[in-house]
Amino acid sequence: MPVVEKSVRAIPLIRSIVSELRKAGTTSTVRSTPYYKFCVGQLRGHQLTQKLFCKGPNEVEHIGETYSTYLRSTRLLQELQYQYKGGERDIEKTANLVGLTTTAKPKSTPKKVDGDEKKTE
C-alpha cells in the first residue's frame, strides 16, 4: 500500500504564494491568471507524493518556497526602496528651512514683479 507523504508546509506554502501574487498585483483577478492555476495544479498533482519522475523527496515544496521567497523579497525590496528613496527638496522647502519664502512664480507673459524677499525674524 503506498504511503501518503504528508507535507506540513504545503498549505502555508500555497497560501503564501497566492498572497504574494495578490499583493504583486495583476490586471485581472489572481484566480483567473494562468500562473495561479499552474501553481495550484502543481501542488495538487504532487499531493500524494513528490517523488514523481525522479524528483527529490521535497523538491516541489522547495521550488515553491523559492518562488514564494522570490516574490516576497522583490516586493519588500520595492517597498523599502520607495520608502527610502531620498531625493532633493524643492526650492520652496529649502527656502523655508532658513525662514525665507520664494517669490511668486512668473506667468507665461511675465509682468514686472517686485522681487522682495520677506524676512521673518
Binding site: T26, T33, Y35, N58, H62, T66, Y67, T69, L80, Y84
Partner: protein, 344 residues
Amino acid sequence: MRTSRRPHAAPHTDLALATADRTVRRRLARWSRLLSIEPNVDVDRVTTRGRALNDAAARAQAAVVAAASTAIIRRWAANTQPDSQRPPGLASSRCVALATRRHRRSYRRLDKIINCSWLQRRSFLSLPVFLLPILPSEALALAIAQEWDAQKKTLRMDHMRLTGLAFTAIDNPLRLDTPTIIKQIIDYLETDTVFFMASEPDKLVELQKLHWGELLKWSNETFGLDVRPTESILAGPVISEQSRLMMERHLASYDRWALTGYQYAVEAVKSLIIILATVAHRLSVEEAVRIAALEQLFQTETWGKVEWAHDIEHHDLCSRVAAGVLFVHLTSNRESTTKTIARA
C-alpha cells in the same frame, strides 16, 4: 467519429523555418496536428529530466517543448479571443529594450514593433510574445508573465530578474559558452565565503562552526570533495585538484541556460558551496543568504539593524539568489506534453 479540426493556421511555420532539421520539422507538424484538435481530450504531462542530452537531441527536444508550450498558451488565448491571429515572428530581446527605453508600460508601442493584437488583451497573459517559442519550460514562461503582469505604470527591469536572466541567456551578449561559464563559476571556489573562518570572537567562531562547518561536511560527503577551510589570512583554503574536477563535472551536467542562473546566484552570495546546497534543496534561500552574511548577522544581533541598509541588502540578496536558483530549476527539467485522444 472524427472530431472536426480547426483550419491549420500554420502556427509553427516560423519555428519550423528556423529549424533546418527535417526530423524536427516532421515532429513539429505532428504536434501541430495533434494540438489543434478540439478539447475533448486528456492531457497527461510527462516530465522527463534530460540534463545530459546531447546537442541534436537537446535542440529537437527544445523545439518540441517550445512548440508544446506555445500551443498551450495559444489555446488559452483562443479561449479568450476566438479569432486568434497568426503569431508574429521571432524578434530579439533588443526589440523590447528599444520599446521600453522610456520604461513606460506601453504595450501599444510593442504592438507597433510586433504586429500582434494579443498584447492589448492583457487580461490573460502579459508576456512579450517573442519569448514564447524560446523559453524552455512552461513554468518559466508563466513566472516571467507574472513579473510583467506585476508592473504598474513604469517597467522596473531591476525587479524583473527572471526576465533579465532569460534575456541574458537568449542574447548571450558576452558570447559565453558552457565551459567558459563553468570556469567562471569555479573561480569563485578559491575565494568562497565559507572557507574563511574567523579565530575570534568566540561567539562568531561558534556560529561559523555551526553553520559553515555543517555545510562543508555535507558538501564533502555528497559531492566527494576534499575542501578544508582556513583561519589564516596568508594561507588559502585547501582545495584538491580532484575536488575541482568533481565540481566541473557536476556543473557540466547543466546546460547554458541553467548555468546563467547558477552564475547569477553565485555572484550574488560570493559562494559556490552555499548555492550548491540551495540548488540541492538542502538550504532554503533565506537560510542561504543568512549564512552567506554570517558576520553581518553576528554584528547586527549585537548592535542592531539599520533598515535602509541591512534590510534592503538582505531582500536584494534573497531576490537575486531566489531568481538564480529558480532559473536553474525551471530550465533544467525538460517537459513535454502528450495528449491521449479519447476515441468515441
